[in-house]
């Protein structure tokens, strides 16, 4: 909270006194009570929040020794508990991890103690070089957070067979449609946009590195829906139901819907950042919106200012590319972008300005459910997914895929890919 972390609202919105502490109105967080004698920590919440145990699992919630400075400590991080420890940091250049000699003694079940003694991480901003290095075995791991450049995808698939696998992440790509201004305040316009977009086309624009979908919650999240996509009003009346995966674009029907809504020629500006494949996604959306009768224009914004620009109420953008990558494995985390409480004048998360009483009441009710009890409400989250699709509130199109791509030196069979934190270095073992 004191180092300007973007996720601080997880604390300020839930813990008693956290907002006052952040605002500098109090020196401590009144809702956190500690007892040094017993080692007990009690946290008082403003309201029941079922996913709070997930929040406690954030790296930012890790316990640090008393007296640790309340400043960014990226070059000299405080000690934590894990199988590896950071021993040196050269900002923007490299950092080194060494095996924690004490960790094995903790005997924590299910957490590997690590195999290799040292992990040397070098910052490589050129994904082409990065892919080449791993292909040539001069580097051991391709950063799972990077996208394999399109020029290398086929080569990696053939040349690195047995040491490359695409892993579906708990992250969804979608186009948000601003529902509080024209034309997407009209359900027919939203339905038309949904029909005009081929998920398979978008998959190709991503060099195959997304899994097509029309649903928002990824399959690994409790409550994920499956089956046919109820795009538009499921009761009929000129509406449409497409196959859930790889639905082809239906330009003719979409054009009819735009005409029926009297929106032919309506101006739309679609927003994207200047980074691939996102720019390609929105270029495609722009082309399809024009094809069905809108007068669409593309607005490309530099990556560094994209989020603050589209998140500003003054800009009030009509449509654009969005992505939600889970902070923790809970459907409530994903639904922050459809929660009316997320609508803010700056740094707005709910870019579609969705304010639907049914969604709202469902989120508030289901957010109280403890993480461990989530399976019991999975069907209710799935029903909400179908409802959101039937209203075409946003145009979901793909679950992101990340590469687990290692050199020949690493035993691929034992390497584990974590849906939240990606490649688990503590499972990397050198062959022989």
């Amino acid at each position: 909270m004191k180092v300007g972390w973007g996720g601080d609202s997880f604390y300020t919105s839930n813990i008693v006194g956290a907002a006052a502490y952040q605002a500098g109105k109090s020196k401590t967080i009144s809702g956190i009570v500690t007892n040094d004698a017993t080692g007990q920590v009690i946290i008082h919440l403003l309201a029941p929040y079922g996913a709070f145990d997930n929040v406690l699992a954030f790296p930012s919630s890790g316990l640090v020794p008393t007296g640790t400075a309340m400043t960014a400590l990226s070059t000299s991080p405080p000690p934590g508990v894990g199988s590896y420890m950071i021993t040196s940091v050269k900002p923007n250049v490299s950092f080194t991890l060494e095996k924690n000699p004490l960790f094995a003694g903790f005997h924590i079940p299910g957490i590997p103690v690590g195999y290799v003694n040292t992990v040397q991480v070098t910052v490589q901003t050129n994904a082409d070089t990065e892919a080449q290095d791993v292909l040539n075995n001069t580097s051991d791991e391709f950063d799972w957070g990077d996208v394999i450049p399109p020029a290398y995808v086929a080569q990696v698939q053939t040349q690195a067979k047995g040491r490359y696998t695409p892993e579906t992440l708990a992250a969804t790509d979608y186009f948000w449609l601003n529902t509080h201004i024209a034309p997407f305040n009209n359900i027919l316009a939203r339905e038309a946009a949904n029909l005009a977009v081929s998920r398979v086309a978008l998959q190709r624009l991503a060099s195959g590195q997304i899994t097509p979908t029309c649903y928002y919650l990824p399959p690994s999240i409790v409550g994920a829906a499956s089956g046919a996509c109820p795009l538009g009003d499921p009761s009929g009346n000129g509406s449409f139901t497409a196959s859930s995966l790889g639905s082809p674009a239906d330009i003719a029907l979409a054009t009819k819907l735009v005409k029926k809504a009297g929106l032919t020629g309506a101006p739309v500006t679609v927003w994207t950042e200047n980074r691939e494949p996102f720019e390609a996604f929105v270029t495609y959306l722009n082309s399809q919106l024009n094809a069905i009768g809108f007068k669409s224009a593309l607005k490309v914004v530099s990556s560094g200012v994209f989020d603050p620009t589209i998140g500003s109420a003054k800009v009030d953008p009509q449509a654009g590319w969005g992505e939600w990558s889970q902070d923790y494995p809970n459907p409530g985390d994903f639904y922050l972008v459809l929660d009316a409480r997320s609508i803010e004048p700056v740094n707005n998360l709910n870019l579609g300005y969705v304010n639907d009483p049914h969604i709202q009441s469902t989120i508030i009710r289901l957010d109280k459910v403890q993480s461990s009890d989530l399976p019991s409400v999975a069907s209710q989250w799935a029903a909400l997914e179908k409802y959101v699709d039937s209203k075409d509130y946003q145009l979901n199109f793909g679950y992101e895929v990340s590469p687990l791509f290692l050199s020949d030196r690493v035993d691929f069979a034992t390497a584990v890919f974590q849906p939240v934190f990606g490649d688990d270095w503590s499972t990397f073992e050198l062959k022989g």
Partner: protein, 349 residues
């Protein structure tokens, strides 16, 4: 006396001349205008003519883009065919493969040069992109020439404080490397556009890169123009006009400007090449033409990441860019030589 004006060395004859000796003289050029002379010289400069024709060919091809798109390729420059499958010699081929690699040249009417990564016909975009690049180049050149001529004329003619003011302002622009200044202006304007009184240009308008390119090159043309005006203002015909009471504006426009024409004509040709190249550079860096509009720069930028698997995406726009710039540049050099073989003025950077 009659002169045939062909300059072929025919001896003049005197009508009714009696007893006067006929003296043979060298080739006569009297009566032939400077531009006609220049044209003659240019006509014998085959290199310049070849490259001039090359440039013309590129221009004509680009002007025919809508015809090609409509009647041959049957697709627009922004139409995407990502999931389309083509039947080539009985074989089905994806326009864009599952791994995102676009189809290569088919040498058929559709996707003649292949497709880009977004499933658009490369040949169509190449020609439409050429129209954009050439249009921006031409308009930017016009902006540069008009502004530079006005500033050079005023500074050189009035001298004194007007000259100091204009020259220092030009120095400020000159102090920055052209590309650095153009990129800085292009990036900042591409985001928010520009709004000066009634003139409003949004970030995607092609007039923005036009203005940026046009303005950054002004000092490079205004300086030599000013130098030439400084010399011209001391010539007898200007003094004569002044003595006759002709106004300053009339002297500048009616006496000095016509004498600058050959310099300006040379600058136009050379400046056009510079403007086209700068447009490509700006668009390559995302500070020029904004997507989805095509220009040779945006095509180069889009093709670069796929160079190893689809080199034609880069080679095709690069070839046209080189052809157009080389064509107009060498033609410009030829024009300079033709207009004033002794002149040393160049639009050097």
């Amino acid at each position: 006396m009659t002169l045939d004006g062909t300059g072929t060395g025919r001896v003049p004859t005197y009508e009714g001349g009696v007893g006067l000796p006929v003296v043979p003289v060298g080739p006569y050029t009297a009566g032939v205008g400077a531009y006609r002379l220049a044209l003659r010289r240019l006509r014998h400069n085959y290199t310049a003519l070849f490259f001039g024709s090359l440039f013309l060919l590129v221009v004509v091809l680009c002007l025919l883009a809508p015809v090609y798109a409509r009647y041959i390729a049957h697709t627009g420059p922004n139409d995407q065919h990502i999931t389309e499958v083509l039947n080539l010699n009985g074989k089905s081929v994806d326009v864009v493969s599952l791994t995102g690699v676009p189809i290569g040249p088919t040498w058929h009417s559709r996707f003649f040069l292949g497709a880009d990564a977004d499933g658009r016909d490369l040949a169509v975009r190449l020609l439409y992109g050429g129209r954009t690049s050439l249009a921006i180049g031409a308009m930017a050149t016009a902006v540069t020439i008009v502004l530079a001529t006005i500033l050079g004329l005023v500074a050189g003619y009035y001298r004194g404080w007007a000259d100091s003011l204009i020259s220092r302002a030009l120095d400020i622009v000159w102090a920055y490397p052209v590309y650095l200044l153009a990129i800085a202006l292009g990036v900042s304007l591409a985001t928010g556009g520009i709004s000066i009184g009634p003139i409003q240009l949004n970030g995607g308008s092609i007039f923005l890169p036009t203005l940026v390119i046009g303005i950054v090159y002004v000092p490079y043309v205004a300086r030599p123009v000013r130098g030439e005006v400084l010399a011209l203002r001391e010539r007898e015909f200007v003094e004569a006009a002044r003595a006759l009471g002709t106004s300053n504006l009339r002297i500048m426009v009616g006496e000095i400007l016509p004498n600058l024409t050959s310099t300006i004509v040379v600058f136009v040709a050379l400046q056009l090449a510079h403007s086209i190249i700068l447009e490509a550079a700006l668009s390559f860096l995302g500070a020029g033409v904004q997507p989805p509009a095509a220009s040779w720069g945006t095509l180069l930028s889009a093709g670069a990441p796929l160079f190893t698997v689809a080199p034609y995406l880069t080679l095709a726009p690069a070839t046209l860019l080189v052809a157009a710039c080389l064509g107009v540049n060498i033609f410009g050099d030829g024009l300079r030589e033709a207009l004033d073989p002794r002149a040393t003025v160049r639009a050097g950077r």
